[in-house]
Assembly symmetry: C2
């Protein structure tokens, strides 16, 4: 077997001039890549020992017993094979029986050795592959966010425990702790009663060899007989409408399965406030909402575990994010106080609880970490967005907006961070729009309007053809054209504005009825017919009321953003990130044309996807991120839009498209906006006549 | 009103020569008794402030708000009354309205003032009565044990919490914590989810004034609206046969109610080993034993709470002691490992758990502290005995013996402590004795035998007349003479030995049948008739088998003690303490005559009563005692009698009365022991004839 030889050159000697001398005394030079760390070691030392003494990052769960296979390395050129395992001629010992057993049982890729079994025989160059590093990283795709180091709160350790001795009596737990101290340098453990109830049987079933899960380096969570390989966690993002779950391998950080389902609390009220009202009207009713959301978490946990083919008992940790009301309800805290001023949270601190305390049926010793809330309207979901997007590490002034029924807005950089929530209402989610619907196959999501003919074309979710392309009918007939979703509404209104159908004041210009049959009177105002009734669809029209609903929503969002910009003392931001399902689907150009977000270089406006869910995942796989977000949220300046007098001013001026007074220079450079003018329509015409 | 004036002399000036100068500048000299601490304070300071700044020990739950009344003091001579409350003319301010309200509502004894409301107006001598001291002590009756400072894990603090502020949002819990930090200097609290679920309602119900229970100075246990006065704890002592409970006021340390009941596990087996056998025969059967003992604890808790007239919800802490098998079973740990060598405990460490984890229905946030076990046969009950009797603080070499079905034996002093358990069997508890019974009314507990006539007289439990005194029949007819209890067995055998009926080898001497009709043949041996059948009783006789059973028990006990003495390298001990119900009832002289315990100055042999229960109470009311006993038990040298070859030697030699080879000089000085001789009886006679 020949291997590509990336390290054919002898290892650089650096400042070490006595290499040959030492070599004669029995010491060998060992160089580790990619770290570049090097040192001399007595022949016969294991590669793992050499790595540890140099601080080179090699993983191990079994503590050098050729069981876990986590410590695999690749050793330089000139190998020969024995037991099907390569070893470099003369410079490293051959595979041990233990290593051969491991290779038989679990497979060992060509070129790989177990560093705990390979003893140094001469100078070596050893490559530590990423998956063997303790500090593995989860690489994220976007350039502006950091990679996340996999360093979960819960870690596995395999130990061999001394058997009880009649002459020196001590508890089984104490001998287990002694073994952990000696073999893993973990001391002063605490332990739940439940673990204590299982420890004797586990020790005996495992013939005094067990794998323990240790949390935060100090709490013994679970004891498995023998070697136990993998543990998992779930990151939950509880939205008012949907709940998302990501099942992660706590050793690699990898997402093994993801799932989502409707929040069953919807039966108690579509939006947050109607659920709080339900509780106010039905004292004690919060218990039903709490039970419903917990049951949904259990159902999701079951789904993702089944999808990944793992046992719920191997799930040892969950993280939870959600807005303040979801946060309180899943924790079994009555959210009534959040229903009215002063919107007092029960707690704004992160929580570390047993998963069983919120009825989660994962491992009975499993824990739940609940991210901190920030204020009565700015929840743990926003904390998670901040953790995912890290504006607090940025030199640029960043605006991060998570749009849902409420928009959570974060503005800042490494010097200062502001946050608020703005009541946008459900228009962006397709509710309160005459032909609106949730994002689902058949919903119109992209719209273009010809500025000459005023004829539209569109695309629907689930298809990649435009409505004026051949084959669209055949494609669309499967789902029909069912309505218009949030991103479609943004596009159709922005295109109507760009085509001159909609004035900057948000009026559908009735005078254009002369130019296009799609502009039709509709009571005292006009509507724009996006789609005539045909075999695919009933008629879909955009009414003046629809426009007003979106104007109200976008003005609320923009006013919240401006409030933070005022507080920060800035007139522009460097980068805008849209988070959440809506933010991921809209075309940022149209969002800016309509004036949902302030002016910015369009190249620096992007989407973060489900950033709250990502933040929950980060907190799941990286322990230090928890302290980090807890520290950051304490420094966030909270702005309460409801009591800021300037909010109303900003709101009124933001009703215009894109805005009454903001100039939007970047937008104007990229897109030709129509000149401001007045519209003519039945109502407006009458009013002008009365005035005249 | 005139008060006894113990402090009529002006306060001594000590080294303070500038008293008059300072006095002119508005400062007054204040002397506190009994501490003798003194200092000068600006006129207008409260007495409580002055005390605090001098480190004088004055209690307060309400933080100086004239609510709790804990800070009462007595102020020197020359008072006059206002609002019915005394204040010293000109030298202390009159009662405030708050103080008058307190006096109206809860009463204030004559001469008492609230130190938080009394402001210094001139030189004062102030007495802090014991019940106002933070470091109250529980005084114990016996000279050799220390008083216990009342310093429970759980303490109450009354706080006024800032209301939520829309402009500066923070969680209710954070504002509560801020208040505790500012008003009580308690920081970095953790808090259970259950508390979080109640905190908002409590704050609003209490109009932002609440009383919190804080455990270990760091865990928020419960929040009550308004002022909450008293919290309680229960010390449980779980014996194989009986379970005892003491309900204590956690503020004063006082025992408010005590109760006991049979351990319902008896239906699974009379003694420990038969219960372990039950579990071995019925896999999973430990759950039934666990449920039974937990239910008994709940029933007892209900009883003592009802007796004291308090709400179970105000019980915030319990402590638990028991032998290793009881310890494991109440914790829900399968005790099978304790049923055979090497007798491995699941844990030998103390436990701090939620009371709800072992199904105790006290306050849902209540905690349970389980004292540490020492070895597989030496349990948390022995740890409690050690804590109560403190041999580890003694210069004398102390022997502490807790006799039950097993005897737990502790030997040592401040240098060294040894412990073992010895399998005495149930003879000392009246079992395995033909006419034996548990200690109950009607049982013979005291016996005297006339050495001339060999006629016995006795007393029964529940009566104070001897059986040969007039009126005994009328007194005893209510209960009858039902059997003989543990202490009665010790006395009758010791008296039989002293009267010559029993030889030093433990043989009932049949040759005495000629002298007394009470010596009767009984198969191949003789018996002694203690009581003829009459209107009170069936015949009660002591058989040779009975004697053998007690000999086996006492030999096991003595052998265990000797083993520890060997290990310690001593031939005598300075002081012997007998603990447990049996140890409390036996006459120590007879215990020594029979050779249950080694020779010792009889004046230094005494009983400690239920020392295990007392240890549980100490751990309940004094937090530092927990760390103390945890530290001490780690230093105890455990001796396993089952594997000590010398145990058997000691056992065989200890079968003799009082002992085959130990000289018992102190005993011989106090009591005339019969000369060793051989007995004659049917069996012995035959054997001698065969040999001859």
């Amino acid at each position: 077997m020949t291997l590509t030889n990336r390290r054919a050159e002898p290892p650089p000697e650096g400042g070490q001039t006595d290499a040959s001398d030492r070599s004669e005394t029995g010491e060998a030079l060992v160089v580790f890549t990619p770290s570049g760390r090097r040192g001399r070691f007595p022949r016969g030392s294991t590669v793992l020992e050499a790595a540890r003494s140099l601080g080179v990052d090699i993983d191990s769960v079994c503590g050098g017993r050729s069981i876990c296979g986590r410590c695999q390395v690749e050793i330089g050129e000139g190998r020969f094979a024995k037991h099907g395992i390569d070893s470099r001629a003369f410079h490293v010992t051959e595979a041990t029986p233990g290593e051969a057993r491991y290779a038989d049982k679990r497979g060992l890729a060509a070129g790989r050795r177990l560093s705990c079994q390979s003893r140094i025989q001469g100078d070596l160059v050893i490559d530590v592959p990423p998956e063997s590093q303790v500090h593995k990283q989860v690489i994220r795709k976007r350039a502006e966010v950091r990679a996340i180091e996999v360093d979960p709160e819960v870690k596995l350790h395999y130990v061999e425990v001394a058997e009880p001795d009649l002459h020196d009596p001590s508890g089984d737990l104490r001998r287990l702790e002694d073994a952990l101290r000696q073999q893993w340098e973990i001391g002063d453990l605490s332990c739940d009663l439940r673990v204590l109830q299982t420890v004797q049987k586990a020790l005996r079933d495992g013939d005094w060899k067990v794998t323990v899960a240790v949390r935060e380096g100090e709490r013994l969570l679970t004891v498995w007989p023998g070697f136990h390989d993998r543990i998992y966690g779930i990151a939950f993002d509880i939205g008012s409408t949907t709940i998302a779950a990501h099942l992660c391998d706590l050793e690699t950080g990898e997402v093994l399965a993801a799932g989502g389902r409707m929040n069953p609390q919807i039966r108690f009220g579509e939006d947050l406030m109607s659920r709080v009202s339900y509780i106010m009207m039905n004292p004690g009713g919060e218990a039903a909402l709490t039970a419903a959301v917990r049951e949904a978490l259990n159902a999701l946990a079951g789904e993702v575990a089944a999808e990944a083919g793992i046992d719920l008992n191997n799930i040892l940790e969950v993280t939870i994010v959600g807005n303040p009301i979801m946060h309180h309800l899943v924790l079994g805290i009555d959210p009534t106080e959040l229903g009215g001023a002063p919107f007092a949270l029960a707690t704004d601190q992160a929580l570390n609880i047993w998963a069983s305390e919120i009825d989660l049926r994962i491992n009975p010793d499993g824990r739940a970490y609940v991210l901190p809330c920030i204020a009565g309207h700015v929840g743990a979901d926003t904390a998670a967005v901040i953790l995912s997007e890290t504006p607090y590490l940025s030199d640029e002034l960043r605006l991060v907006v998570d749009v849902g029924t409420n928009a959570e807005i974060v503005l800042g950089n490494r010097q200062r961070l502001l946050a608020c929530s703005s009541p946008t209402g459900p228009a962006f989610e397709g509710a309160q729009i005459s032909c609106g619907q949730r994002a689902a196959p058949g919903a119109i999501e992209r719209v273009r309007i010809d500025p000459e003919t005023l004829e539209p074309r569109f695309r629907i979710i689930g298809g990649d053809l435009w409505s004026d392309e051949p084959g669209f009918y055949d494609m669309a007939v499967r789902t029909g054209v069912t309505g218009i979703c949030g991103s479609g509404i943004i596009e159709v209104l922005a295109e109507m504005y760009l085509a001159g159908i909609l004035t900057a004041d948000g009026v559908i210009d009735g005078s254009l009825a002369a130019r296009s049959p799609r502009i039709v009177p509709d009571g005292r105002t006009f509507s724009y017919v996006l789609q005539y009734a045909d075999g695919l669809s009933t008629e879909k029209r955009i009414t003046q009321t629809d426009v007003r609903a979106v104007q109200l929503a976008k003005a609320a969002l923009y006013a919240g953003i401006r409030l933070l910009m005022d507080r920060m003392g800035v007139e522009s931001v460097d980068r805008i990130t849209l988070a959440g399902a809506f933010g991921s689907h809209i075309d940022v150009k149209y969002a800016m044309v309509l004036g949902l977000i302030p002016d910015c270089d369009l190249a620096k406006v992007g989407s973060a996807g489900n950033a709250a869910g990502t933040g929950a995942r980060i907190a799941l796989v990286n322990r230090s991120s928890r302290a980090e977000i807890e520290r950051v949220v304490r420094q966030v300046e909270k702005v309460e839009t409801a009591v800021e007098p300037k909010f109303q001013d900003h709101f009124v001026r933001a009703m215009a498209i894109p805005h009454k007074s903001d100039p939007f220079p970047n937008l104007r450079a990229a897109v030709t906006l129509p000149e401001p003018r007045e519209a003519a329509g039945p109502e407006e015409g009458r009013r002008r006549r009365r005035r005249g």
